[in-house]
């Protein structure tokens, strides 16, 4: 479904001027905390009111300040899933799911409740109270409750942030299955690129109340249009450069020339490279784009290493690391002759240009 948002709202901290028009089944809103992505969701749901602007979903206008249209929350047909699930604590699971169905005839209502309980695999828990369920189960109740009223849009506000790592990837999978069966549109708000990538096909990048990019997820991750998007999609290395020729840039501070692949003849002022795209170790094959680095420190995770490097030529500022590189533990162990220094290779194909 097509979603058109063109609104403005004044906050104490910042001015929100959100404008996008996307057409997609599963839409992701990516942004850092405080960027206004949750607020955008609340504005579409009608839980908050913009100062002015238009919100349209499909052919239905939900809000239009010029035409004085402001459809109330309860008539917007959105299913909203909150970060803390927001179940009604005084009601059993059955009552939670059926709460909004009181106008429906009893047999029909019981059938809907049963269907939804089965869909989220909570059979046998109907008479429990929310407090008696685990986080993942509570989330499923919230999902069943939202689905029970047949919403046109499902909205997820940071749905997995309260879950632990294992449960999180499990719930992402479960919600993906639900979304596959769901006929309407979904909008997911998250700062986590894994979740966004797995659950959406179109991504909107938001920063300080403005839209920075809107694109298909694969294009967005391959070719982020600007630095903010690159950072938000997980690019750890952004370096200021001077362009020397069409396909050559210079990192002035380090006095290093790099070859790049400037497919679109951009004017280049910065380059970016993802931490996992940097190669290191035996680089004899390569002659260009090699940087000699000193290892500042290493962060060890169970299966991978994050290595913080200082370019050797950059002898002036040794306080801050310049480059961050990610490598699997196995690969790291294969590298011979490891000492304080290491050569890295920046593949021109993998260098992003801004």
């Amino acid at each position: 479904m097509n979603i058109l948002v063109d609104i403005e709202k004044q906050f104490e901290e910042f001015y929100m001027k959100m404008k996008f028009n996307v057409d997609g089944k599963n839409i992701g809103l990516l942004g850092a905390s405080g960027s206004g992505k949750s607020m955008t969701l609340k504005l579409i749901a009608g839980l908050e009111k913009p100062d002015r602007g238009i919100i349209k979903i499909g052919n239905k206008t939900l809000f239009d300040s010029d035409k004085l249209i402001n459809i109330s929350v309860k008539d917007r047909k959105v299913g909203f899933l909150f970060q803390n699930y927001a179940l009604f604590p005084n009601m059993t699971i059955r009552e939670n799911i059926g709460f909004a169905l009181n106008s429906i005839e009893k047999n029909k209502r019981n059938k809907i409740i049963k269907d939804k309980t089965n869909q989220v695999k909570l059979n046998g828990m109907e008479n429990r109270l929310p407090i008696e369920l685990s986080g993942g189960q509570q989330q499923r109740v919230a999902l069943a409750r939202a689905l029970a009223v047949n919403p046109e849009i499902l909205m997820f506000d940071e749905p997995f942030s309260a879950l632990d790592e294992n449960l999180r990837s499990y719930m992402v999978k479960e919600i993906k299955e639900v979304l596959n069966d769901f006929k309407g549109t979904s909008i997911l708000v998250s700062h986590n690129i894994d979740e966004i990538y797995r659950l959406s096909d179109k991504i909107i990048v938001i920063d300080s109340g403005k839209v920075e990019a809107v694109d298909d997820k694969n294009d967005l991750f391959l070719n982020p249009p600007n630095i903010i998007t690159a950072k938000l999609t997980g690019c750890k290395n952004i370096i200021k450069v001077n362009q020397i020729s069409e396909n050559e840039v210079m990192i002035c501070e380090w006095g290093i020339k790099l070859k790049v692949n400037n497919k679109f003849n951009k004017k280049i002022t910065s380059i970016g490279i993802r931490a996992n795209h940097i190669k290191c170790g035996e680089l004899l094959k390569e002659s260009k784009n090699i940087i000699k680095c000193e290892i500042a420190y290493i962060n060890e995770s169970p299966f991978k290493l994050t290595v913080y490097l200082i370019a050797v030529q950059n002898s002036l500022n040794k306080e801050k690391y310049n480059i961050q590189l990610e490598v699997s533990k196995d690969m790291w162990n294969e590298i011979k002759n490891k000492n304080k220094f290491i050569d890295i290779y920046l593949d021109p194909e993998k260098i992003m240009l801004f």
């Binding site: 749901a45 299913g79 970060q83 005084n90 709460f99 109270l129 929310p130 409750r145 009223v149």
Partner: protein, 226 residues
Amino acid sequence: MEFDYSPLWISLKTVLTATCITFFLGIFIAWRMSNYKGKLKGILDVIFTLPMVLPPTVVGFFLLLILGKNGMFGMLFKYFNTNIIFSWYATVISAVIVSFPLMYKTTRGSFEQIDINILNAARTLGVPELRIFWKITVPISFPGIAAGTVLSFARALGEFGATLMIAGNIPGKTQTIPLAIFFAAEGGNMNRAFIWVCIILIISLIVMTLTNYWTQNHKRFKLYKF
């Protein structure tokens, strides 16, 4: 001499009526105030809380001004040929006014503690506000509402100053237990005063025990914190 029990019946009648009025009025005003976002919020809150801070005699004085013969409502009552001042209704009015802030404050406090997402979730499901209020807001705030009711009850039962100002001390008509205690003690009848003190103690103990029992049994669910 026969012991006159009329202050007990007057007190009970007054307190029960006043607590009923305060209960619904307090919940209603607390609900409207916790949803109200206008400019007058601060001023309205001060007005609703004022009877709690002012000395009861001052409250009584104001009531006298409003309800008295030349007051706003006094004129109205005169038109209908009735009089509120020095009648049983005056004891109810003063009890409601002084106990209202306790009900309002406690209830509003517990309304505002409810996770807004819970109410918003109900709104996105298409549930009307009134149903949200009765089925979610009130049950979740039950402990607060119960506490407010008990406090209001206690305050209404102990009401003295404002009652004396606008209802007077007419035995068999407006003389409540606190007034009976004061006038018995003042008249040197310590035994009589002591009996009334005991009766007040017993009523308070019964009410407290009942409400404790009631709230503990009602607490089927705990509010989960996030």
